[in-house]
C-alpha cells in the first residue's frame, strides 16, 4: 500500500507540471508569434531611414541600404508634433479619468438607495459603454455641429443664438473630444464603483453613524479606505485604455484643426499611413513602448499585489 502510493505520486507530479505547460503552450506560441517579429522589425526599421516612398523600389528588408542609426530617434524626440501628441494624450487622460471618476462616484451614491425603475435606469446608464467607439465618435461629431443640438441647448440657457464652431477651434475641439470620452466611459466608473459600494460591510458604516460621524467624516474615514482597492483598479484600467484613444478623435476631427487634437495614436496613424514614414513611426513606436512599459510596471503593481494576496 505504502509503496504503491509513492510510485503513484512521483510521476503524477511530473505529469501535472507538463500538463500545465501544455495548457498554456498555445497562448505562449500565439504571443511570441505576435511579439517577436514585429518588435525586431520595428527596431530594425527604426534604425534606418527607409520608407515605402524611398526610390528604387526597395523593400522593407532592404532598409539597411538607408541605414541611419539613431537619426530617427534623434529627430522625432525634437519633433514638436510628436512631443505635443504625447503631452496632449496625457492631458486628455488627466482630465477625462478624474472627471469620469467623480461622475461615476456620484452616480454610484445615487444608486445606493432603492427607487422606482432602478434596474431600467441602471441598464440605460451602462449603454454608452456598449456603443462602438467609432459610432460614438460619429454621433458626437453630429452633436457638436455649429447648428447641432449642443449649441441649440446652450442657446436656450444663454438666451441668445450660440453657434460655437466646436470642432474647428483648438481648445473647443479638445473639449468636445473629452466630453465624448466622458460620456462613453463614466458608466464604466459607475459600474465598478457601485459594485464596490454595494460590497461594503453595512455594519461598519452603521457603527460610524452611531458614533456620530458626519457625512464627510463617514466618507473619508470609513468608505474611502474600504473602497480604496476598487478605486485604484478602476483608475488604472480606465487610464490604461484612455491612453490609446483614437476612434472617437478620428471620427470627430481626424486630429484637426491642424494638429490640435492629435493623440499619440492619431499622430502615429497619420504619419504611418497617410505620409508613409514607416521608419519614423517605427522609432516613435519604440519610444512609446518604452514609456508605456515604464508606466505600466508601476501601474500594475497594486494589481499584482492584490493577486498575490488573494493567492496566499
Amino acid at each position: 500500500m505504502f509503496k504503491k502510493q509513492i510510485t503513484l505520486k512521483e510521476p503524477k507530479g511530473m505529469d501535472a507540471a507538463r500538463f500545465g505547460f501544455f495548457m498554456i503552450l498555445p497562448a505562449l506560441v500565439f504571443l511570441l508569434f505576435i511579439i517577436i517579429f514585429p518588435l525586431l522589425a520595428s527596431i530594425y526599421l527604426s534604425l534606418s531611414e527607409w520608407s515605402p516612398l524611398t526610390g528604387g523600389g526597395t523593400r522593407w528588408y532592404e532598409a539597411y541600404k538607408f541605414w541611419g542609426w539613431l537619426s530617427n530617434y534623434w529627430n522625432i524626440l525634437r519633433d514638436a508634433d510628436f512631443l505635443m501628441s504625447i503631452v496632449r494624450t496625457f492631458i486628455i487622460v488627466a482630465v477625462v479619468v478624474p472627471v469620469e471618476f467623480f461622475i461615476g462616484l456620484g452616480l454610484a451614491f445615487l444608486f445606493r438607495d432603492n427607487f422606482v425603475g432602478k434596474k431600467i435606469f441602471h441598464s440605460i446608464i451602462l449603454m454608452p459603454m456598449m456603443i462602438v467607439p467609432a459610432v460614438a465618435g460619429f454621433v458626437f461629431y453630429m452633436l457638436f455641429q455649429a447648428q447641432g443640438p449642443v449649441n441649440a441647448v446652450l442657446s436656450v440657457f444663454a438666451f441668445k443664438e450660440v453657434s460655437i464652431l466646436w470642432l474647428q477651434g483648438t481648445w473647443s475641439a479638445m473639449i468636445a473630444i473629452m466630453i465624448a470620452d466622458i460620456w462613453q466611459w463614466s458608466p464604466f466608473m459607475f459600474l465598478i464603483l457601485l459594485s464596490g459600494l454595494m460590497a461594503l460591510p453595512e455594519d461598519q458604516i452603521n457603527a460610524a453613524l452611531i458614533l456620530g460621524a458626519s457625512k464627510w467624516q463617514r466618507f473619508r474615514m470609513v468608505l474611502f479606505p474600504l473602497m480604496k482597492p476598487v478605486i485604484v483598479i478602476a483608475l488604472i484600467f480606465r487610464g490604461m485604455e484612455a491612453v490609446k484613444i483614437f476612434d472617437a478623435i478620428w471620427l470627430m476631427t481626424t486630429g484637426g484643426p491642424g494638429t490640435a487634437t492629435e493623440s499619440i495614436s492619431v499622430y502615429m496613424y497619420k504619419h504611418g499611413f497617410k505620409h508613409l514614414r514607416w521608419s519614423w513611426v517605427a522609432a516613435g513606436g519604440i519610444i512609446i513602448l518604452i514609456i508605456i512599459t515604464l508606466i505600466s510596471m508601476q501601474a500594475l503593481k497594486p494589481i499584482k499585489e492584490r493577486e498575490e494576496e488573494q493567492a496566499a
Binding site: P26, F37, V135, P149, S296
Partner: protein, 284 residues
C-alpha cells in the same frame, strides 16, 4: 438611513435627468437613422429633435446596390457579414486559447509571469507596432482576409479571455477535479468532463464580452483591411457621396445596426461586466 421625502424626490429627478443625458446621444443615432435628408442637419435653420417625416430610406440606401447615394461603398451587407464573421472567429480563437491557458494558470500555476505579460500587452497602443504586423501580414498574405483580422483580434482580446476564465476556474473548487483524477480520470479528462461543464456560464459570458470588444474595433480593421473585408465601423467612416457629402442618415442607420448587438449582449451579461472590464480583479 431615513431620508426626508423631498430629498428622495430631488434625488430621483437628478437620476432621471442624468439618465436622459446619457441616453440622448444614443437616441440621436436612432432618430437620425429614420430622418430623411433635409432633417439630417440643421443647415436649413431648423433643428429636428424628432424625425418629422420618418423614413426607411437610410436603411434602403445602405442596403441597395444602386449607387445613387453611396458611390464608393455600395451595399453594407458585406461589411455587416464581415464584422460578424471576423468578430465571431476572433472570439472563438481568443476563447479556445484562453480557456486552456486559464486552466493551466488556475490549477497548475503554469506560465509564471504570463498573466501579467498579457496585461502589459493590453496596455500598449496597437498602433505602436501595427506597421511591422502589417509587413508580417503582407508576407503571410493575410492583409484584407477574414483569417488575418480574426487572428489579430484573437491576440488582442486574449488577455481578457485568459483573465476572465481564470477567475471562473478559480471559483470552481479544486477538490472536484482532484477527486476526478483520483477516480482515474486523466488530467485532460477531468478538465473536459468535470470543470468545463461547470464553467459553461462563465465561458458564455466571457465569450459575449470578448465579442463586444472585437465588434467595437475600428483602428485594426482600418489598417489591416482594404476593400473586401472592411468591417462596419470602417464602412461607416467611409460612407460619403460626391453629391451630398457625408451621408449622415445612412451612417446613423448603420451605426444603429452596429450598436444593437453589444447593447443586447451587454445587458445579458450585466452581472459580469465589472469582472470583464477589470480583468477579474473585481468579482463583485
Amino acid at each position: 438611513m431615513e431620508q426626508k421625502l423631498y430629498v428622495k424626490v430631488l434625488k430621483f429627478f437628478l437620476i432621471v435627468f442624468v439618465t436622459m443625458l446619457f441616453f440622448f446621444p444614443i437616441y440621436w443615432i436612432f432618430s437620425m437613422a429614420f430622418k430623411p435628408f433635409p432633417e439630417w442637419t440643421a443647415a436649413g435653420g431648423k433643428i429636428y429633435w424628432f424625425p418629422n417625416n420618418p423614413t426607411f430610406n437610410n436603411f434602403r440606401a445602405i442596403f441597395s446596390r444602386k449607387l445613387e447615394m453611396s458611390p464608393i461603398a455600395g451595399t453594407a451587407i458585406r461589411p455587416i457579414l464581415n464584422s460578424l464573421t471576423v468578430s465571431i472567429i476572433g472570439t472563438a480563437i481568443a476563447m479556445v486559447v484562453g480557456i486552456f491557458a486559464a486552466y493551466g494558470i488556475s490549477r497548475y500555476k503554469a506560465g509564471g509571469n504570463l498573466p501579467f505579460m498579457l496585461l502589459q500587452l493590453r496596455m500598449f497602443p496597437p498602433i505602436a507596432i501595427i506597421i511591422p504586423i502589417m509587413i508580417m501580414w503582407a508576407f503571410l498574405r493575410m492583409i484584407d482576409t477574414w483569417y488575418g483580422l480574426a487572428i489579430i483580434y484573437g491576440v488582442v482580446t486574449l488577455p481578457f479571455s485568459v483573465w476572465l476564465m481564470k477567475t471562473f476556474f478559480d471559483d470552481i473548487p479544486k477538490e472536484l477535479d482532484e477527486a476526478a483524477i483520483v477516480d482515474g480520470c486523466s488530467n485532460i479528462g477531468a478538465f473536459f468532463k468535470v470543470v468545463m461543464p461547470l464553467a459553461k456560464g462563465g465561458i458564455a459570458s466571457s465569450a459575449l464580452f470578448v465579442f463586444i470588444l472585437n465588434w467595437s474595433d475600428f483602428l485594426i480593421a482600418l489598417i489591416l483591411t482594404d476593400r473586401r473585408w472592411t468591417t462596419i465601423p470602417v464602412h461607416i467612416s467611409k460612407l460619403q457621396s460626391a453629391m451630398v457629402g457625408a451621408l449622415y442618415g445612412p451612417k446613423a442607420a448603420l451605426g444603429m445596426i452596429a450598436a444593437v448587438p453589444p447593447i443586447v449582449f451587454g445587458i445579458l451579461i450585466q452581472k459580469y461586466l465589472v469582472r470583464g472590464f477589470t480583468f477579474g480583479a473585481i468579482k463583485k
